[in-house]
Symmetry: C2
């Protein structure tokens, strides 16, 4: 069901076509929160429209259809947001691989951790740039600043942990 609410959430900000939504997933959601491809997005938009949670508000060139969230859609999204599950289902290949580090030897583990340290440093830098630019542009502090800060802190934590783990492996040699 999450895909459905991810779409409603994006449409709650502004109307968009399936194509635009697909690109928003690629650029933003897929990196941090929820991955989906156009082959899943288009049918789900049709179902949302059939259920009256979104509606077509414009048709353009090349069969482009712009969807907007309806009042029923906003209500449904709000209900979902205010009723989170007690425990979230976790399926995270990155963390799974960390759990399975113990199946590698010391050198192989180091070879896994180094790219993690480097990659998280790059993500940190990218996010810091994006945050600085947004801070300069918006006088108004926004909700988006909250999730950006969350991402930044998460990458910082991963980075520092990877360095700590590498140092620990060296020390225990």
């Amino acid at each position: 069901m999450s895909l459905r609410y991810a779409l409603l959430g994006l449409l709650a900000e502004e109307p968009a076509s399936g194509y635009e939504l697909t690109r928003k997933f690629e650029r933003v959601l897929a990196r941090y929160a929820w991955h989906a491809q156009h082959s899943q997005i288009y049918p789900e938009l049709n179902r949302l429209a059939a259920d009256g949670l979104v509606e077509i508000v414009a048709e353009g060139a090349r069969g482009r259809r712009t969807y907007a969230i309806t009042d029923a859609g906003r209500a449904d999204l709000r209900t979902w947001m205010l009723d989170p599950p007690d425990v979230f289902t976790v399926r995270n290949e990155f963390v799974l691989r960390l759990f399975l580090l113990s199946t590698l030897d010391r050198d192989e583990a180091r070879a896994m951790l180094r790219p993690i340290a480097d990659g998280s440093a790059r993500e940190m830098a990218d996010l810091r740039d994006a945050i600085d630019k947004a801070d300069a542009a918006d006088a108004e502090p926004s909700f988006n600043r909250l999730i950006a800060e969350y991402g930044l802190r998460m990458f910082e934590t991963t980075h520092e942990w990877a360095l700590w783990a590498l140092a620990r492996l060296d020390r225990a040699e």
Copy 2:
């Protein structure tokens, strides 16, 4: 494919039955890394056995079968571990809900963030207890200490972020 490697990884530590593996998922993996139920685990074990990556090393009461990883299984697991994807697929409902915070009003957002701050504090305390006990029991520092530290730092970060976000919402009032 991740389920397959999660199972091989657990069996690389020690032989176990499908029932025991199911409980390990419930107690450990499902919380942090990978969720799976017995209805998925049993058929996958049969496929792994058919592929020669695990083998039955004991049969016990109530039709219990103890599986052990084979050399081919260890080789396959190692190959998988040493070849991570460039980008990981993310599907995390918790983070999705954070992204969609902006669809709520200020009070509703606060009502979402408070349980997050409290829940992460509880997880931190649990993990710290587990780490302290393990540190006291094992003289030997282990690989498992690395992933426990990762979890602890992640929950700390979530906790501190939620407090920061709550303060920011109050300040902007």
